[in-house]
């Protein structure tokens, strides 16, 4: 039975790499959070990192648009959309396919992609927290193309993933990292607004492991209060449920107007 050795979540906006020092006070605080996450991941030394993210119409288009999809490949190229840096990373075809099979057995009909390039939703965290030399298994969650999977369904996917990890080989160590959010509006008139109160509340709920309160939110409320980009917190819910939802430690939070996004970084407790 594989071991889950780390779980966490972070925002993924490209400004993290493109203009890392965009704010004199907030940037150092955030980078301190990512440095802590980097150190914790290094210490956990996972064989495979399952990154739960979404896609911004780079890998998937309306011709074929999955709800959940696992990348099962020996490598994952980077799209480098809009000049965002990033190089090809290693994947793990065997782990990806094993998770697909285990999830199917648990009632989650996830798609699989044997060739799944990655956009900034994956590549920014990979680079920022030092995962570019590790084996990456991406798990795509539709966060921006309605109809979306419900928050409850995302919680249940996380729980199923937790079980699915038990069917991976005995000596494998796995880290889970969710990416997305927090409040931001993309391609809407409110672009640039940030709801810091909402961001703090979500971080508080995640840090308490209160998935009931998180999944009680409606997508309409989330979109109205925190923007269409905040719908990406479903990836955080998947990761928190996978970790056992016993709590977490907020590493940093800031309203980064220069990046048009509320930023959150959190380590999740891994329940026994």
């Amino acid at each position: 039975m594989a071991r889950l050795v780390y779980a966490g979540a972070t925002s993924h906006v490209s400004g993290i790499l493109r203009s890392p020092d965009a704010h004199p006070d907030f940037s150092p605080r955030l980078h301190q959070g990512w440095e802590r996450m980097t150190a914790d991941l290094e210490s956990a030394n996972p064989d495979v990192v399952l990154i739960i993210g979404t896609d911004h119409y780079e890998t998937f288009g309306l011709e074929n648009y999955p709800t959940f999809c696992i990348g099962a490949a020996t490598k994952h190229d980077a799209w480098n959309e809009h000049g965002i840096p990033g190089n090809t990373v290693l994947g793990d075809e065997s782990v990806g396919l094993s998770l697909v099979g285990s999830l199917l057995e648990r009632g989650f009909d996830v798609s699989r992609s044997l060739e799944m390039p990655l956009d900034h939703g994956y590549m920014v965290p990979i680079q920022r927290v030092g995962l570019d030399q590790r084996r990456i298994v991406p798990l795509f969650v539709n966060c921006n193309t309605p109809p979306l999977p419900s928050l409850e369904r995302c919680r249940d996917l996380g729980r199923a993933l937790r079980e699915a990890l038990t069917e991976l080989p005995d000596d494998l160590t796995v880290a889970v990292l969710a990416t997305g959010g927090l409040s931001h509006w993309v391609g809407l008139p409110q672009t640039g607004e940030i709801n810091e109160d909402w961001d703090r509340r979500v971080l508080e709920l995640i840090s308490r492991g209160d998935l009931d309160a998180l999944t009680a939110m409606t997508d309409d409320d989330i979109a109205e209060q925190a923007g269409n980009g905040a719908l990406e917190i479903r990836t955080w819910i998947v990761a928190a449920a996978c970790a056992g939802a016993t709590g977490g430690e907020v590493l940093a939070q800031a309203p980064m107007h220069a990046w048009v996004t509320g930023i959150g970084i959190i380590n999740l407790e891994v329940a026994a």
């Binding site: 288009g61 309306l62 672009t191 048009v260």
Partner: protein, 85 residues
């Protein structure tokens, strides 16, 4: 659904060398090669953010289109640019 055509146009603009320049120079000729409805073609030509979203184009895709066409992100809903000019 023809909204797929708008999405495909934007993806091609991101990935095909020279296509953005061709769109800016000869928009009608480029748009002719995509299965767009009349309303979609007009909205693209006008770089009309609100109309594109109303027609079902995802806001993420709309934003990419307008930024590639030279509209600054904060100005997407207030700019006066057009592919016709």
């Amino acid at each position: 659904m023809s909204v797929v055509g708008v999405h495909r146009l934007v993806r091609d603009l991101e990935r095909r060398d020279g296509l953005v320049d061709r769109l800016l120079e000869q928009p009608a000729a480029v748009l002719e090669t995509y299965p767009l409805s009349d309303d979609e073609r007009e909205a693209v030509l006008n770089l009309d953010a609100a109309a594109l979203v109303d027609l079902g184009v995802n806001p993420l895709v709309m934003r990419t289109l307008l930024v590639l066409a030279g509209v600054a992100n904060p100005d997407i809903y207030s700019h006066t640019l057009s592919l016709r000019s």
